[in-house]
């Protein structure tokens, strides 16, 4: 293990190098570009054995990853924003064909208007595609999540693709000191991968992606639900092993100063690091505030979240994307569903924030906590709030 200063993109491409996948098929897009650029340099310098496929679009990047994975290879790609949107139809095929492809997504706003900065509209657009979705607070978590993703995806009974999200620019382009493993340690941890079925196994010919109409399609979908249940089990198992190796623990979410908390914020990504500072500041003034940083968005850890949030009077849900349902963001909708009908149900308030990279700082988060504290004390607060937008 050694401590090095890396950007999020450097940390992710280093993790990919240490994983040494059989195939990487990727197309560059801001702010993910450096991942592809640096990884292709590793390929050119002979530091990995990877077959690097230069494709003409993200649709092809995902399609080539699917072909590689169906042949039994360990396959990876990476993208952002509109690139992810262009992959959309093939992402469903990757998940339903049960191919353990790993894809870092450097989160960026979807057009229009054209914007290259961070929000979660890209990942949220793919939330129902059947992929496992992990979120990272910083470069360290992005690095750790990419390595753990291999094991989660390839777990027996899971065999689903994993998307590792990291915030565009805020994580991808900011330099942080992180602990990285030695190459051999990463190899030992991920182990080798032998696919149960391979298109290249000429002695056992099989058909991938066949036609399944009214009589079989539904059964295949039901299997995917079951695979997600296994993913829910595998994620903490892999995390425990990873903690033994690194000392860094991971769960479905990370609670921060939740003891006796009466007002809690829950959310995804880098903003949760900023929120920790806000919590510390407000705690100094005697406010009972806490924070829940969600790491696993799909499969949604419904029981664990319901247990964690039961009895807390007020919960603020931070969404860096909107659903345009008129009823708030995607995390807000999921949490309402999970808590509906539960005992000691908290009051939920939604804050949609940071779209297109709109900055959010410590004092912004303190302001949000104060709205929530006032709501606890009986002041009215809209259910869904657009925070930081000009009227």
């Amino acid at each position: 293990m050694k401590r090095v200063a890396l950007t999020g993109n450097e940390a992710v491409s280093l993790a990919m190098k240490q994983i040494n996948p059989d195939v990487v098929a990727a197309y560059p897009i801001t702010p993910q570009t450096e991942i592809v650029q640096m990884f292709s340099q590793y390929v050119a310098d002979g530091q990995v054995d990877t077959e690097f496929i230069t494709v003409e679009s993200e649709h092809s990047a995902m399609s080539a990853s699917i072909g590689a994975s169906a042949s039994g290879a360990r396959a990876m790609t990476a993208t952002s924003a509109n690139g992810l949107a262009l992959m959309w139809e093939v992402m469903y095929i990757a998940a339903s064909s049960r191919l353990p492809i790993i894809m870092p997504v450097v989160n960026r706003a979807l057009s229009a208007p054209i914007n290259i900065h961070c929000d979660h509209s890209d990942a949220m657009g793919a939330r129902d595609s059947g992929w496992i979705q992990l979120f990272s607070e910083n470069s360290q978590e992005a690095y750790d999540n990419v390595i753990q993703a291999i094991r989660i995806a390839e777990s027996a009974n899971v065999l689903l693709p994993v998307m590792v999200n990291l915030d565009g620019f805020i994580i991808s382009h900011a330099v942080e000191n992180i602990d990285v493993l030695d190459d051999e340690k990463v190899q030992d941890f991920i182990g080798s991968y032998t696919a149960d079925y391979s298109l290249l196994d000429k002695d056992n010919p099989i058909t991938f992606g066949p036609l399944a109409l009214q009589d079989y399609y539904f059964e295949a979908k039901r299997q995917q639900v079951e695979a997600m249940k296994y993913a829910h089990k595998a994620i903490p198992e892999v995390a425990r092993e990873y903690e033994k190796l690194t000392g860094r623990g991971y769960g479905y979410f990370t609670p921060y100063r939740m003891e006796d908390a009466e007002v809690v914020i829950i959310g995804l990504g880098s903003t949760m690091g900023t929120a920790q500072v806000a919590v510390d500041e407000l705690r100094k003034e005697g406010n009972k505030v806490g924070l829940l940083k969600l790491r696993v968005f799909r499969p949604f850890p419904k029981e664990e979240l319901a247990r964690m949030l039961a009895g807390i009077p007020v919960v603020g849900v931070m969404d860096r994307a909107d659903t345009f349902s008129g009823n708030g963001g995607p995390l807000f909708a999921d949490l309402n569903t999970v808590l509906y009908g539960g005992e000691e149900r908290p009051e939920l308030y939604n804050f949609i924030y940071g779209l297109g990279g709109r900055d959010i700082n410590v004092s912004n988060l303190m302001e949000i906590y104060r709205y929530l504290l006032n709501a606890r004390d009986g002041q009215t607060l809209n259910r869904v709030n657009y925070f930081g937008v000009r009227e």
């Binding site: 049960r98 079925y197 099989i206 058909t207 991938f208 009589d215 295949a220």
Partner: protein, 101 residues
């Protein structure tokens, strides 16, 4: 197979995979047919054009002679009737179910 006999999600291969090769024969595409090719042996010169052109391998041949049409798989595309070079066509298309009407 009746509906009850089909395996459920717990027992079918994952991801819709088909693990056995050569299973296309299990899918009887004859049910798609709207028009039926009808062969008249008396007009047939056994040139086997129909056998060459049929996209569904539904022309049956024995000892180099046309012997009939396999209605389990014939989709009724009409190509065989179109290519039949015999002066008096040896294959003509009829509407499916015409006899019953």
């Amino acid at each position: 197979m009746t509906k009850e006999e089909k395996p459920g999600w717990k027992s079918i291969p994952r991801g819709g995979l088909i693990l056995d090769a050569g299973n296309a024969t299990q899918y009887r595409t004859g049910g798609w047919r709207v028009k039926r090719p009808v062969w008249n042996e008396d007009n047939c010169i056994h040139c086997l054009f129909c056998w060459v052109y049929c996209p569904d391998i539904s022309i049956t041949v024995e000892d180099g002679k046309m012997t009939g049409i396999d209605y389990d798989y014939c989709k009724g595309c009409g190509i065989c009737a179109e290519v039949c070079p015999s002066k008096k066509k040896a294959i003509v298309m009829e509407s499916e179910g015409q006899e019953e009407r």
